[in-house]
């Protein structure tokens, strides 16, 4: 088990290293950043000074090593746009992203799983067809469009909820609903299919024959066994939600890491982009690592893969 965990961790670090190279290369290939740092009327002398100051006069591999060496110590440089340390800036936005993702995740679980159970225990009923149809169409809707349509209905037309911002809990409702949208459909479909499988097993039939009430059979006997694929998927999904939040934050002006990142890309504020990407990737990889470890604990067969 220890070997398995160490292997997964090494792997996570390797992935993180690759992300750091990709993001570094991305920001350098896309153009010379010197001209963002100096004024329009800068002299040759000023440009040269800036280049030395930011280490831009060195060879690219050297620049990467310096960047990586500092990044490991938590120093991502100073944001070009805001003039504060990039990592600090990103970390100050992180709570917003976490709140949004977790609320979306909770919503998806609370709505998707019960819907799936209901659909599975009443197969081919109106509930089943309704939920399955909703899930199919729901999964076909792009997240950013769902967000805009929710804004259109609940903010513009009905005026019940604010369009964007983050001043109160009401501001959280629409972005969280958008983030959870795809996951509700995914949880529903997965719960339904694993419940149908579980309900068809001999021990469930036996529990029924023993005279247990139907809700006990469904919720206790079947759900417990349908739960294992759900746990795995829930973990994977939390990571995906984090990624999805990037787009949703931009629509609702929700001041999270994703919105910061998109704005920073637009402004070519490369220290901020690098910090934002690496922080997001670290969270994503950590969550996957935790899921892998948890799964290894639950199912010994996985460890030996």
């Amino acid at each position: 088990m220890v070997r398995y965990i160490v292997r997964r961790m090494l792997f996570g670090l390797l992935a993180l290293w690759m992300v750091s190279m990709v993001v570094f290369a991305a920001m350098r290939i896309s153009g010379d950043v010197t001209y963002l740092l100096v004024g329009m009327d800068a002299t040759e002398q000023e440009i040269a000074t800036i280049r030395t100051q930011y280490g831009l006069d060195r060879a690219l591999p050297m620049q990467y090593l310096i960047f990586a060496g500092r990044a490991v110590q938590g120093d991502f440089g100073t944001s070009i746009k805001y003039g504060v340390p990039a990592l600090e800036l990103v970390l100050s936005r992180l709570p917003h992203t976490i709140i949004l993702s977790l609320t979306g995740f909770t919503l998806a679980l609370l709505i998707g799983v019960p819907l799936g159970i209901m659909a599975a225990s009443r197969r081919n009923s109106v509930v089943d067809f309704g939920a399955t149809g909703f899930a199919l169409i729901g999964q076909a809707m792009p997240g950013f469009w769902v967000g805009i349509m929710l804004q259109l209905v609940f903010s513009v037309r009905l005026g019940w909820l604010p369009t964007s911002g983050s001043e109160s809990w009401q501001h959280l409702i629409l972005p969280a609903a958008t983030v959870s949208w795809f996951s509700i459909a995914a949880f529903m479909r997965l719960t339904r299919s694993s419940m149908i499988e579980a309900l068809d097993t001999d021990y469930v039939k036996f529990a029924r024959v023993k005279g247990n009430p139907e809700h006990v059979v469904v919720l206790k006997h079947a759900l417990r066994n349908a739960g294992i694929p759900l746990v795995t998927f829930a973990g994977m999904n939390l990571g995906a939600l984090l990624g999805g939040a990037v787009v949703v934050e931009s629509i609702f002006a929700w001041p999270g890491v994703g919105q910061l990142m998109i704005a920073a890309i637009g402004a070519r504020d490369y220290p901020t982009v690098q910090a934002a990407v690496l922080v997001t990737a670290t969270m994503f990889i950590s969550i996957n690592l935790a899921v892998d470890v948890l799964y290894g604990l639950l199912d010994p067969r996985i460890r030996n893969e």
Partner: protein, 309 residues
Amino acid sequence: MSESHSLARPHVHGSIIEIIPVPDDAPLSRAPRRRRVGRVMALALILLLPVLLFGLFGPWMLLHDPAAISPAHALRPPVFAGGTWIFPLGTDHTGRDMLSRLVDGARNSLMVAFFGVALAGTIGTAVGLLAGYFRGATEEVLMRLVDMQLAIPPILLAVLLAAVIGGGLLTVIVTLAVTFWPTYARVVRAETLIQMQQDYVALARVAGASRWRIMRVHILPNVLSVLVVVATLQLGAAVGLEAALTFLGLGMQPPASAWGLMISDGKLYMSQAWWIPAIPGIAIVITVLGANLLGDSLRDRLDPRLRQL
């Protein structure tokens, strides 16, 4: 002699594939099940047909010039919301005809999705074949690369790539390819491992076929059906991702007609004109739903083991 491994050749189902079969249906007898799969496929084709027609013959189907700005006709509602047949789906804030832009945008969306998925499929298939055929160090390196890429959130990768190469048709195609290739690599590798154990591969080897020939002529045709299923399912995802990138300003650039672009334009005017953001979104939903249903039914018909995809 060896050209005969066609698509129809039944697969031998091994246990190497790490895909968990999730039975989605009660034990129906085969006939009603097949009929149902057929119905789903018909529905998928009905949904996709107009989109395909627009994509292929769009330039000959336009009512108006999709780029023609005419302030006098700005913000006209669609015909079912009190508009006229001159602009069946209304106009946008600059007076451009929504229907013409929708039809014109279909070509861009489909082209990007198709070439993106095709490029991803080519790279992924090559990697999967090589990993599955050579095993050992080759496999280890290639598959770890796949794992590593899957550890990066796709949207992050897409956003970064698009930021580097700058917006445009080609950018989105490359981004889609980079984002989607690992899935093919995994599936094709698993399938190659199964095929490698078949007698025909051993026989071809005995007959003196080269490694390249075995991979190309013997194994590739047998992994095709899996490829078709994965590609169809990814087509839907590709249309969605393309629209999202374009919406964020990282994909197709104005004045091109693209569905994502129409939505981001429309967002600003939604209090006066709900149809500008709503209608292109409905087009996306129809396309993605059609591709997903088609993929589902192809999977059920060709290879039920792939349920999890």
